[in-house]
Every structure is written in structure tokens, then in C-alpha cells.
Amino acid sequence: MNGTAPLVSVRNLKKEFPIRKGVLSRQVGAVKAVNDVSFDVARGETLGVVGESGCGKTTTGRAILRLIEPTSGDIRFEGRDIRAMGTSELRALRRELQIIFQDPVSSLNPRMTVGAIIREGLTIHKLAEGAAADARVRQLLQEVGLRPEYSNRYPHEFSGGQRQRIGIARALSVEPKFIVCDEPVSALDVSVQAQVINLLEDLQRDHDLTYMFIAHDLSVVEHIADRVAVMYLGKIVELATAEDLYATPLMPYTQALLSAVPVADPKARKERIILQGDVPSPANPPSGCVFHPRCHHPAKDAACAAIVPPLEEKTPGHFAACIKQPPTTVSWEQQKEAGGVHRPERYLPLAAVHA
């Protein structure tokens, strides 16, 4: 992009979960949760990752941190190969890459006090001890908007939004550079969401953090993210700046996703794109373009079922995986060979929706 090396770089990431059957648990198939995903995250930016259930966004986030071991692929942090790291190197890396979870209830140990939960990172990495550690815990609590004197309380005494703040304080305790935010506000009420989102933005500014923000709520992602990746069945189908994505979504799936979001304005008359059918199972993804069975692009044809569309740049900085949205490197001859009958044509049905 602008010459500086990305903070996190992911290439051809794949994660498969085996399906086992029979007494001997033989592998009969695989769920391709993440299926060849590549992207960069620049220092200081927030990359939003959106998609519906089963698209692989959570698995991607955890694979980057090696909380789930990737099946294959290349993950680099500040140029260092994460997958090649041994135990102690990985442990040291844990200071730099952190994660915030979705569920405020299960992500905090019910038997530990809030102070102990936040202090753990300091203890593991020998960052502070005794009174110094206590002081740091109090400082962190204040920073996330909680009263420091409540550090000897237990998680069950706090509300969902407060628990999320505790989780954020825990992630911050080791002074990370990169935080995977795995649906951090999905389980919270709307009014509390706003508080936590503002907090995350403040912290990013104050600590020069880089976020990978995973969510299924498109309005939240548009607000907080600089660039957005849309995932479907384990693949990135579109990647662009938030502004570009929401103004001119190129991938038919993104168009449908955006038009499906209920708008809090009764006067907005929407031409809704309603997708047919359900999300197919990641154990048995469709051939060619994984979205083609539900696609509404007028030029959709047999070529879509045969060719796996590359994620390519359609306009500067805006990538989409669709052979029917020009420009495309998949030539018309190739498409015809695979059974194509319609030429690629630009299809932007949502131009007027979010005016």
C-alpha cells in the first residue's frame, strides 16, 4: 500500500477440521473452515472481518494467534514467521498479539477475582510483581472505565458490558501491539455496545493498537473499521476500505448482506435483495465460486460453477472475487471454455440504498 511493511501478514491460510466416522474414527472428509485466505493488516489500522455463521472469521482470528493450529499457510508478525516458532518464542509472542472474546460470561474464570484475572498476564511474563502489579491492575481498571477498588470482586458481580471491559483490561495488561476482537460487542445491548466501541477506539488511539475486528453486525464494522474483508464459506470474497465497501459493494454476496441489514428508518424504502436458500455446509462447499448457487448477478452462468474466482483488484484498493464483475483476469475465452454464456457486466443494485 504505502510502502511500510504490514504488521500482520497472512498468506494462503487454511484450516480444516477432519470429519471422523466409524469405530476407528477414520477421517471421511473435512470441514474447510478457512479455505485459502490472504490479507495484510497495517500498523494502526482496524481491519474489519464480516460474515455470517460458518464463514470462518472466528477460526481465522484464532489461527493467527495459533490458538487453533493452522493446517497450512504463512502467518507473519512484523516479518517473523509465527508458525515456525517454538514454545518459548510463541509464549513471548503472546505479549504482542492478544484477543478479546465475544461471551462476557464464559471468557472470565468465575473463581478468580477481577484483579487476579488482569494480573495473570503480568505474572506470566514477569512484567510486574507485588505492589507494582497491583498498581498496574488498578491503572488498567481505570483505563477501561471501571473503579479500581473493585479489583477484589468476582466476575459474576458485574454486568455484561463491565465484564467485557475486564476482558479488554486483561488483553491490555501485556501491552500488545495487535488485538483480535472476536465479536466483542455482539452479546451486549445496543446502548452498552456504544460504550465499549468508544472505549476500543480510545484505547487504539492511546496505545497505538492494531485491531482485527470480527463481527457480523455490519453497521458496527462500518463505524470502527478502516478496511473491511467479507468472508463466505472460508474465503474472502471482498476486501476494500469501509467507505468503498459500503458505497459500492461489488461482490453479489456483499450486496445481499448490506441490503439485508434492517435500517432504523421506517421511511427508507428498500429494494431488498433476498437470498434464496441457506448457507451451504462448509463440509461440502459448492464447486467453483462458493456463492454461485445463491447468486443474483444477472450474468451468472455455468462458468461460475466451474471456475474458482481469484480475489482481484477491481478498482484501486478494492478487491472482489467475482469473474462476472469486470475487470477480471479470467478471460472471456476461459469462461466460455468452462461453459460461460454471459459476458461480465458491472452490476451495482445498491447504489441508491444508503444515500
Binding site: E52, S53, S159, G161, Q162, D189, V190, S191, V192, Q193, A194, Q195, I197, N198, E201, H216, L218, S219, V220, E222, H223, E243, Y246, A256, L257, L258, S259, A260, V261, P262, V263, A264, D265, P266, K267, A268, R272, I274, L275, G277, D278, V279, H354, A355
Partner: protein, 343 residues
Amino acid sequence: MTAPLLSIRSLRTWFYTESGVARAVDGVSFDIGAGETLGIVGESGCGKSVTALSILRLIQPPGRIESGSVIEFEGKDIVTLGDEEIRDIRGNRISMIFQEPMSALNPVFTVGDQVAEVARVHAKMSRKDAWDRAVEMLALTGIPDADSRARQYPHQLSGGMRQRVLIAMALMMKPALVIADEPTTALDVTIQAQILDLLVDLQKKIGTSILMITHDLGVIAETASRVIVMYAGEVVEEADVDELFAKPHHPYTEGLMHSMPHIGHDQERLNVIPGTVPAPTEWPAGCRFRERCPYSWERCESEHPPLYQIGTSHVSRCHLAVEPERRNHPHPPVVVEAGVAAA
């Protein structure tokens, strides 16, 4: 104005828990007319789900309908009905769609059987007739290949499909009212769009009223014709949907609308409603929103606001209705020390 389908008056449902009495629903009144979609919007803890369950008398101990009445169109009060009469209403004249389709369906019966059962119980249909009617209903809800799908078990269907099954079950007897309790919250966005469209479509076809309960203002905007906003066990605002979004009166409604990020309107920072909802065992005196409200003044602490009329069909539980000039003097919210209020 024709007689309302359902008339709820001063409903109070309380839960007697080990930490005290939780007044989940504390004096709620509203009407539902024939053929309309009434939306109830509020966040967790406001009492909207408990209201829905109370209408069908599905509250289990330690909860209890303390007082109030739910008068249905024939004039009978559901709260005082006998067991057999209430069973006649449930699933038949008033039915319900729940949030979690997986837990609402019995995993050991086929979905066809479960839908057909409704007709067998209420209309005393034969097995065959009920099954045929069930398949018909499933097809109506947009399930492709309804006949073979009906023979499948719940775990073999996706979330969206299961919700359609629930909708089919709810509409089998062509009820006068369908209560939809967060019907799309557990579903993906694209599936949610399908289901909402379906509900609106079916309502037109069958003519039933819908009580749509949700925390999502977007869903309300798209489906409801009238809206009730609930907070802390009470109705705090009621209006037609256009009016509510254009001119919200109650500070909570206003705050909610301002704290939602909107696609296409980029803001630097989101506005927040500071603080948290009070615990249902300790509703504060006076106005329950007072501590988080940017406009509150002394009157809000001493006097619990009634529902003031502020338009032809717009009411709001806020003293700003009688002292509107206070809206020009916002201030940081008055915050009470947590844990100190109760001695």
C-alpha cells in the same frame, strides 16, 4: 376504532428470587388491534419477553402474574382463565414464535409431526388431514420440497429452516395474534431478512396481528406499524412507527437511537447512554431512567412520571411533557454510588 384484539391493563409479573422480588413487568398497559403489527422494543431486563410470556400465562415459579388483566376479544380475562380454557387459546387463537428455534423444537419428533400436532390437538383433525395441512403450511413458509422436509428431524435443518417450521406451527390454526419473541435474533443477517419478509407477507395473507418483540430498532422500523418502548418493566413511550423515529420524546428512546451506528452516516464517536440498567429487584424511586438521563431534575426523583399524552397517539412517560424547556439544559447524568443505595 374497532375493538382491540387484546387489551392489557396494568400487568404486573413479579419473580420471587433469593435476592429479592424482581418486578420484571411492573404496570404495563397497551392494546393490540386486529391485523396490525405492534412492536415492543427494549434492551435486556426491560421486561418485554416476560410480558409476552405473561400474555399466554407461560410464567413459571418463582414468577407469578401479580395483578392486571389481559382481556381478549371475546371479553374474557386470560389471567383468570382455567387451565383448559387457556390451552384452548394457546396455539389456537394466540400463538408464539420463540427466539431459539432449536430449543423450541422437540429433537425426537419429525418437524412434520410437530407442526401437524397443533392441528390434531386443536382441530381434532385426523393424522392424515393434519399432516397434509402441515405440509401445506411448511410450503407456505417457503420451505422447498416441503413434503420430504417434513419427514426430517430438527437437527437436520438449518437455523433459518427451523424458524420457518416454528412459524408454520404458529400459523397452523390461523390465530388472531402471533407473538414473535425476538424471532430473528439468533439468525444470520441474510436469513433474518428472509424471515422478516416472510412474516410481513404471511401477515398480509392470513390477516393475523403480530406482536413483534425485539431489541433491534431496525427490525421495528421494517415491520411494525406501532411501537412500544419498554424500560425497567414499564412502557416509557408508545407511538406510530413513523412518529417514533421522527420525533422520539422519551430520553431513553432518543438515547437508543443516537447510540446505534447507522450505515452510511459515519460518526466520529458513538453517543452513549452512560451507566447500566438498574437491577429489577431495586427499581429506583421516581423516574427509573433518571440516573442515566441528561435532562433530569428534582421532580424526576420525587415523582414517578405517568404516561403523558403528547400527540394523538403518542404517549411518553417523562416529565419533559409538562416542562419541555428543560430539554434545553442537558447536564452530565446524576450517578448513584453502586452498592450504597440500599443500606
